[in-house]
């Protein structure tokens, strides 16, 4: 999965249309001429271990990316949103399965052709690397979350993440929608549906979020939410300066 969060792809669709037809100026442009495909909610795009013959650009809808363990347990390693590219971890086989959370529309592109085109373009190469690094950074944040955040911190982090993604589009209200089920959220956060549900209730009782139907939430106290998410400032300034090496290490 490669989220379209960073740098290079701030250029959105309208920009792309302009600078096109000769040489694609951004990665999405490669998919531009491909026919649009539909995928109903709940359908699988590909399975972990499948030969990775194609990449996809998600144009509309939401995908979940997950792995299934031997005993049936599922781990959702991420959700993908419009503008994201799917399956760019350039191996011979997909590292994960991909399913539609909502009805989706996407474009397909041969992986081989993708690699050749990107490899041959000094424009596109750094964009691919940038995306991979964004993905890597996200994976590491997720490891931090799973390693040492408790249920409340996890859910707050998740909600905050959803809010930020929403704000990149329309900077309007604080109502974010959660198209995925509680089970999806649970499998993403390493919790059970019951814990997700209970924690959500707790946040509501505290007045931090307000319910807005089953599949959306209104974030009332953004600051408190950020604080509870336990992500501090995300950046400890620079260099050696303040590295609090106190032994007061907490867990949960």
């Amino acid at each position: 999965m490669l989220s379209a969060s960073h740098a290079e792809q701030a250029q959105n669709y309208s920009d792309v249309v302009v600078a096109f037809d000769k040489e694609p100026a951004c990665l999405q442009a490669l998919f531009w001429k491909q026919p649009m495909e539909q995928l109903d909610a709940g359908r699988t795009l590909f399975f972990e271990g499948d030969q990775a013959k194609h990449l996809f650009e998600l144009v509309e809808g939401v995908l979940r990316i997950f792995k299934i363990m031997a005993d049936g347990r599922r781990v959702i390693t991420g959700f993908l949103y419009p503008g994201d590219l799917v399956g760019v971890s350039l191996r011979n086989h997909y590292l994960y399965s991909a399913e539609a959370v909502t009805p989706t529309r996407l474009r397909r592109f041969s992986r081989k052709a993708f690699e050749e085109t990107v490899s041959g373009s000094p424009e596109l190469r750094p964009q691919l690397l940038a995306r991979l690094c964004d993905e890597m950074a996200a994976a590491q944040d997720q490891m931090v979350l799973l390693s040492c955040k408790n249920a409340e911190e996890r859910l707050c982090s998740f909600l905050l993440q959803q809010l930020q993604r929403k704000r990149e589009q329309d900077c309007s209200s604080n109502v974010v929608d959660l198209p995925m089920t509680r089970l999806d959220i649970a499998d993403y956060l390493g919790l059970t549906i019951e814990t997700v549900s209970r924690t959500m209730t707790k946040l509501t009782n505290k007045g931090i979020v307000g319910p807005a139907g089953r599949h959306s939430v209104c974030i009332i106290k953004v600051g408190t939410l950020a604080h509870l998410a336990g992500e501090g400032d995300e950046y400890h300034g620079s260099s050696s300066s303040v590295i609090s090496l106190d032994n007061t290490r907490r867990r949960h």
Copy 2:
């Protein structure tokens, strides 16, 4: 962090020396002429958030790669071993801090020059991508571990991982050494030192591992260890075939 586990870099040092001086045949070769630097055990190579001016090739010793949360909790996202490259997540700032677990020797290379050289070489580019993908795959495995493995499964996975790494070098005995402290292991596996210690004792009592000093373990029953690690076959064959979607999902 980029582990040297896969494909391209199976070519080891001796191979590299031969095909050198004109155009580097592999990523490590770039570091070849750089002066060797020392780093004592416990010393920091760089901090998360520092400007990423250099990349490193780890020649000898072990590094730990970690993030510190606002409240002082530490998450070790990986260990690096000889042959690995450090800091290749090509952002402007390091994503994590790096410290020497044991006394290490490494070579430094300007990140800018690295990017330029790799970018200009059709030989090296796919190698970089391959490493990034390996790193991504490792990160995802770690997410699976942290998401839904219990203490025993985590420790078994870790030991197995160490064993496999050892076997890539000398296929000899089943004694792996663990240069890192229990605290390092705990912070890597998302547990406490006490739990790591207890679980280690339990594995010993079961006769799965035998103690061989504080900083090494003898793996006695590899099969049992692999089974307890709960990693099944790692690959569910291909395609749609058998996807056990039973609801009997367990956790812990």
